[in-house]
Each structure stands twice: as C-alpha cells, then as structure tokens.
C-alpha cells in the first residue's frame, strides 16, 4: 500500500489531537478492527495447536480422565515414526495425492485450453462443469458409493457397457486394488473444475500480442504452445497444484464417506487414520503427536513449494 496523504497526515498527527478531530486515532481504529479477528483465531486455532503440542508429550487419554497424566517426552513421536502402519498410510496418501493432482492437472488444463478457444456458449458450459466442486463432499461421496454398487450402480453399468463383462464382477469400493482408484476418480470428478478455472485465468492472462508476434515470426502452433502458452501459464498451474496438494493432504470427508478407509486400510489416508486414533481409540497423546507431525509436514512442504513458485513467477 502506498501511503496516502491522509494516512501520512494521520501518522504525523499526535494521538491526542487526532482524537479530538476524528474521535479516534487511526491507530486505535486499526486495532479495534483487527483485534476481534486475531483474538478469535488465537482462541480457536493457535490455542488448540499449542494444546495439541503439549498433549503430544503426554500419554493422556480423553476417555480415562481419572488416570494420572504422565509426561512421556518424545516417546509418542518415536512410536509414530517407527510404526509401519503409519508409513503405509503415508504411502496411501502419497498415491492419492500424486494421481489426483496429475490427472486433474492434465484434464483441467486441457479443458481450460479448449474453453479458451471461445466457442459459442462457453460460459454456460463452464458453469455446468464447475458444479461438482461447490457441493458438499460428504453428501456427494456418500452418493458415489451408490454409483459404485457392483450390480445396480450406474458406474459399473457404464463401464461394462463399453468393455463388456458383467457389472456384478467388480466392486470399486470393495476391491483392494480398485478402491484407491475409486477415491481418485471421485476426487477427480469433483476437483478437476478447480484446476480448470485457475488454468483458464492463466491462459486468459497471456496477451494476444505475444501470439501475434510469434505468428509474424512464423512460429508453428506447436512451438507457440510450448514456448509461450506453457511457460506463461506455469505459475497458475503451480498455484492450482499448491491448492490441490494442501486440500488433498487434509482430505477427509469425501473419502471417509466413500470407502471409510477400507477395504482393510488401502484407502486410509492420514486424516482418516488420525481420526481413528483420536476419536475411536481415544489415544489422545499419541494422536496429538501424529497431528503435529502432519501439520509440520504440510507446512514445510507448502513453504518450500511457495518459494519455488515465487522463483517461477520472477522469471
């Protein structure tokens, strides 16, 4: 923000006089305006976070309030990092993240590229495509279990309509190998429009004059695509990946309704596992340590990524 004459004047006016003139000084207004927000965030976000960190060093269990709470140091962290089940969960999450982001970026970018050709009615179709991402993931995820039903589900019917075979032969959410793909398909259906919208903004931000210049230089369309379109849309693509990455790392509602983490623990993403530890097994101390590890992971990865993103933007 560039300092305007008024704010400059306000900063130079001694507090007492400003009060007489304006009722309240700008500085106190600023504080009155910001304080409630900060206070609420401290109470509902930071205070619980600090509490989580504290709990993570204890063996506290919510369901046994009378048991004496012991300070266990880093034992919870040690146990988590040595637990093969948790590494399995991390792997499942990584698999989910990798494929959802890859597929959504490919389809989302392709769609944005096509829509950017400005055919008639593109606004209407864009709005229709966008619907899924605005809806409640839990409600939609629940309905996808219906679409995935082996005998009666629409999904199986459509797949076997094209490939042949019996729709009762496979169960997307009951099969160990198919379940991870069941959640990837549902997530892709839901969130591809998100990537598409951001890519579309990226493509629309490229000025026509650059393409006109390339056209004058007789650059082929193919070449224009790789040397103009892709590099200029890249910061937007990376932003889309950042958002999808953070959101899908936190993924809970859609998947918990779709598969509940099963079969076995093939689709147990970290948030689902954490929920089981914290609210079904009631291992509060242990799950607090788990939460801290997850938060540090997201925050660390996101910070590194944002640095990379800023480098790309500067180019």
């Amino acid at each position: 923000m560039t300092a305007s004459p008024i704010t400059k004047a306000a900063q130079h006016t001694p507090d007492g006089i400003a009060k007489k003139i304006r009722g309240l000084s700008d500085r106190s207004i600023a504080w009155i305006f910001v304080a409630p927000t900060i206070f609420l965030l401290l109470a509902v976000n930071i205070f619980p976070l600090i509490w989580t960190i504290r709990l993570s060093f204890t063996n506290y269990r919510v369901n046994r309030p009378n048991k004496e709470v012991e300070w266990v140091g880093l034992r919870n962290y040690e146990r988590i990092l040595n637990d093969p089940d948790i590494w399995h969960t991390m792997q499942a999450t990584a698999h989910f993240l990798f494929w959802t982001i890859l597929i959504q970026v490919l389809i989302g970018f392709a769609l944005a590229y096509l829509i950017n050709n400005k055919f008639k009615g593109n606004d209407l179709w864009t709005t229709i495509i966008v619907f899924p991402m605005m809806l409640s993931p839990a409600v939609v995820g629940n309905f996808w279990t219906f679409l995935y039903q082996p005998q009666i589900g629409l999904f199986n019917y459509v797949v076997t309509f094209f490939t042949g075979g019996d729709p009762a032969d496979f169960s997307m959410i009951g099969d160990v190998y198919l379940a991870p793909w069941a959640i990837i398909i549902a997530d892709t259906w839901m969130w591809t429009p998100f990537v598409m919208l951001i890519c579309l903004a990226g493509l629309r931000s490229i000025p026509d004059s650059i393409y006109e210049a390339a056209e004058c230089d007789r650059a082929s369309k193919w070449r224009q695509f790789w040397t103009i379109t892709i590099p200029m849309a890249l910061p937007f693509l990376m932003l889309a990946v950042l958002f999808r990455g953070i959101e899908n790392f936190k993924m809970f509602d859609l998947v918990v309704q779709l598969t509940g983490g099963g079969p076995g623990n093939t689709t147990t993403l970290t948030s689902i596992d954490l929920k089981r530890e914290a609210f079904e097994k009631w291992r509060t101390g242990y799950s607090s340590a788990y939460a801290v590890i997850l938060f540090v992971t997201v925050f660390g990865l996101a910070s590194i990524y944002v640095k990379a993103l800023n480098k790309v933007k500067e180019r």
């Binding site: 096509l114 008639k120 629409l154 019917y157």
Partner: protein, 312 residues
C-alpha cells in the same frame, strides 16, 4: 469481430466446443442421477439395468421427512383410511407414519449455523480487511500470513483440543459452538478476499469524505461499505457454502441438537435398510441451493476459490 491471427478458426471452435460439452455432460450425469433417484421408487432405484425412464413418485421425499413403522393388517384396519396424500404413499408400502423424521431439524441446523457463522464472519472479516487495507498495522504481512496459515491445518488435527475445550466450556453440540468454530475457519478466506476487494476501491473517495468532516467510522460505513457491497456479498456466499458443506468438525463435535445435514444425510435408513431414494431426496434438497448460488457467483468464483490470489 475484426480479423486477428490469434482468433481460433471455426473448425477449432467447433472441435473444442464438442469436447467440452462431452465432458460437461459426463460430469453432470452423477448430479442428475442424484436428482432422478430422489423421484424413483425403491424398486426402480436399485433396478438392473439402471432405469432412465421411470414413473416419478414422491415416496423418497415422504420417507425423508417421516419416520414409519411396518403395520400389520389389524393396525391398518384400526387406523382407518389414509387422511393425506403422504399417508397414502406410506400405506402403499404397508407402513404407517409414526412421526416426522429428524431431517427437517438437521436442515434447519445447517441454515442457522451457516447463516450465523457467515454473518459473524462478515462483520469481523470486513473490519479486519479494512484495517489491513487502509492502515499501517504493525507486523501486517506476518499477521496476514498467520491468518492464511490457519487454513492449512487438517481439521482433524485441531479437533482434539477443540473437542476438549468445547467440553469444558459446555459448547459441545451447541449452535453457538459451531457458529464460532465455522467463523474462525472462514475468517482466513473472508479477510483475504475482502482485503482484495477493498484494495480496489480508490482511496480518494474516503479522503474526500474525511475532508468533508466524516469521521473514520462514518467514512468506513457510508463510503467504503456500499462500494464493497458486491465483494462482500460474494465473499459471504463463499463462507456460507463452506459452512454448509463442512463435515469433519460437524461429525466430530455434534451428535444431536446442533448436528447439521452433511453427517445426517448419509445415515438415512429406511424400513428395509438403506433407503436410496430418501438419501437422494435429502441430498437434492441440500445440494440444489448451492448450485443456485454457484450460478449467482460465477463471475467471482475463481477469486473465491484461490483466496483472492487470482483476480482475472
């Protein structure tokens, strides 16, 4: 339109249009299927092969809003002829309506918590955004980043202490608790979005008002607020949709009085197990308002989903 080398050819446009329409149709099918299933009879809903053309019935909606018990012949005899059309639909299945279901309550909870948290969030968010936009706030960038970072936390990770805290304060399973919680979660979005909208309002307007003798407060609500109305409205819709859709906190922190619709709808069970038409009916009533809002929001959609990072 004037000729331009960058304008796609007619063939390209047709080709792009057809591909996009194909994708749109595929993507809309599951949604149409939800709506259609809501009007199917239980038999039609689980028919193989899936039926596209069927005789519509309101049975799903009746089942959604009522609790029913299986009735024996004598019970039916005793109850006499059905009094209302919905009673009649229930009778056809050999059941009698024993009372209203919980769906209405849960839906109302969603409305109360959604609108309550949105209103609170807009009041706090607009004030904070104005201050961040117009004043020198110490540590401004750090505070803004802090506000944004609260969104990165997995909800389950903070749910444990929030659960403990709410239990101590008596806020578990209350409307007030959920309103405060959703307000806090949405503040990051509303502050960032609104700051962007307010940044776009030229400062000269307020300066003129201040010179005319308005106080800062007056300049804020008489000059800035009307100018930012569109921005505030679209931000409010985003907050509302988020609170409306939220599931993780709702399922962990509410079970009865304050439970919202998302944790409730998947658990609708009929007399013979999972009642898909009723689930679909509940989902339809819950999802359609969001679709309407999406159409209203379409100009600001991109800005909202990226926290104002992309403004177009």
């Amino acid at each position: 339109m004037s000729f331009s080398v960058t304008e796609p050819t007619k063939g390209t446009k047709w080709f792009s249009g057809i591909l996009v329409v194909i994708y749109a149709v595929i993507t809309i099918v599951p949604l149409l299927w939800i709506i259609a299933t809501g009007f199917k009879s239980p038999a039609d809903s689980i028919a193989y092969p899936p039926v596209v053309f069927f005789e519509p019935t309101l049975e799903g909606y009746v089942n959604l809003f009522t609790d029913r018990t299986r009735a024996t012949a004598e019970m039916l005899e005793e109850a006499g002829p059905p009094q209302t059309w919905y009673e009649e639909i229930a009778r056809e299945r050999g059941t009698v309506i024993s009372g209203p279901s919980r769906y209405g309550e849960r839906f109302l909870n969603s409305v109360i918590i959604g609108f309550g948290s949105t209103a609170l969030c807009m009041v706090l968010g607009t004030a904070a955004a104005y201050a961040f936009s117009r004043f020198r706030v110490p540590l401004k960038d750090d505070l803004l980043f802090f506000i944004l970072s609260t969104r990165m936390m997995p909800p389950i990770a903070v749910a444990i202490p929030i659960f403990l805290m709410f239990r101590n304060l008596g806020l578990n399973d209350t409307h007030l608790g959920m309103i405060l919680l959703y307000t806090a979660v949405n503040l990051s979005l509303s502050v960032w979005l609104l700051k962007g909208f307010i940044d776009e309002i030229p400062m000269e307007y307020e300066e003129a008002a201040l010179i005319d003798g308005y106080t800062r407060f007056q300049a804020f609500y008489k000059v800035v607020l009307p100018q930012a109305a569109t921005g505030i409205a679209s931000t409010a819709i985003f907050c509302l949709i988020f609170a409306w859709n939220e599931y993780a906190f709702a399922v962990l922190l509410t079970s009865g009085t304050a439970q919202t619709a998302p944790p409730f709808i998947p658990n609708i069970i009929g007399v013979n197990g999972k009642d898909w038409p009723a689930v679909a009916a509940g989902a339809t009533l819950f999802l359609v308002p969001v679709m309407v809002f999406t159409v209203l929001l379409r100009k600001h959609l991109l800005r909202g989903i990226t926290f104002g990072a992309v403004r177009k």
